[in-house]
């Protein structure tokens, strides 16, 4: 299965949520990973993060100001292309300051500020880590329920 975490921007809170999901957050210095994803985020394609213990492939995506709209389109596209939620599932990740994070990310084209911006973003994401953990846990249990139903 492919799992896509979507936020307004893909590289901050969805990325950390994806890492929490795959269980890599403890062994990864995600500060480095976040900085390296700039070019990939800009083009708007899903970014591969890793695989979980069930061998599901995990991606992140910046869905813009309305990630719920992106989810609607992707869910429908998956269906149109002849696949189902067993092949591709989208999880929208929300935190308190996600709109601010998206605007902040837009400033990262200024190379000079990039490091500072990522540090601010990281500080915000760390403050919201509990919210992210709750969302990831709820999503995991939802996946288990769906799998047992099938």
């Amino acid at each position: 299965m492919n799992i896509l975490f979507v936020g307004m921007t893909g590289v901050y809170h969805p990325f950390v949520a994806a890492k929490l999901f795959t269980g890599e957050i403890k062994k990864t210095d995600y500060r480095i990973a976040i900085s390296g994803l700039y070019e990939l985020e800009i083009c708007g394609r899903p970014i591969f993060v890793g695989t979980d213990d069930m061998n599901n492939r995990v991606y992140v995506l910046g869905g813009g100001p309305d990630p719920a709209m992106a989810k609607t389109s992707i869910d429908q596209l998956v269906d149109i292309l002849g696949f189902s939620s067993a092949d591709f599932i989208v999880k929208v990740v929300k935190i308190k300051h996600d709109l601010f994070l998206m605007r902040l990310f837009r400033l990262t084209h200024l190379l000079f500020f990039r490091r500072t911006i990522h540090s601010i973003a990281l500080w915000i994401v760390k403050k919201e880590l509990q919210t992210l953990e709750k969302q990831v846990l709820a999503f995991k249990s939802q996946l288990v329920c769906t799998a047992s139903e099938q």
């Binding site: 394609r45 899903p46 991606y59 813009g64 596209l77 292309l81 092949d87 591709f88």
Partner: protein, 156 residues
């Protein structure tokens, strides 16, 4: 193959392009306002339709034609949809066409007045005139898309 035409509201330029593709409009002349209003979804969408991929019909090669409104997401939305198709390894089965480049001020202003402000009696004549002005350019977009389909089918 699946072809998705998209624009801001999925209500005017994308719908007109899809109608041209499906042969619902005569390509030899500019359509009348009445003919445009007969196209499914033309100036009929609501805010709830944003992000919804709507089926318009099948073309002469049995390709499925869809329309989509994606707000001001630009080409990024094409990349998102193509990216998902790539993850599923069916990118050769999808063509995504952004119609925003051919949207003129008449379409923007008329579309906004009709769909967002909810005054179709004011906005509709303006957006219709705008669509008629953009019609020949939309034909070119569709022809380019059709040649891409042929190319993709021959390489696939």
């Amino acid at each position: 193959m699946k072809i998705i035409y998209h624009c801001f509201g999925g209500s005017h330029s994308s719908v007109t392009a899809a109608a041209i593709h499906l042969g619902l409009l005569d390509k030899t002349r500019v359509p009348t306002g009445e003919e445009l209003m007969k196209i499914p979804f033309y100036d009929k969408t609501t805010d709830a339709d944003f992000g919804t991929i709507r089926f318009m019909g099948k073309d002469e090669w049995e390709n499925e034609i869809y329309v989509l409104g994606k707000k001001s997401m630009g080409d990024r939305y094409s990349n998102i949809l193509m990216g998902v198709a790539e993850v599923l390894e069916v990118e050769d089965q999808l063509i995504v066409v952004n119609c925003m480049r051919w949207v003129n001020w008449g379409m923007k202003l008329g579309g906004f007045t009709s769909r967002r402000l909810g005054f179709p009696f004011i906005g509709r004549p303006v957006v219709t005139r705008g669509t008629q002005r953009a019609f020949m350019q939309l034909i070119k977009v569709v022809e380019q898309t059709k040649s891409n389909i042929i190319k993709q089918a021959s390489t696939g």
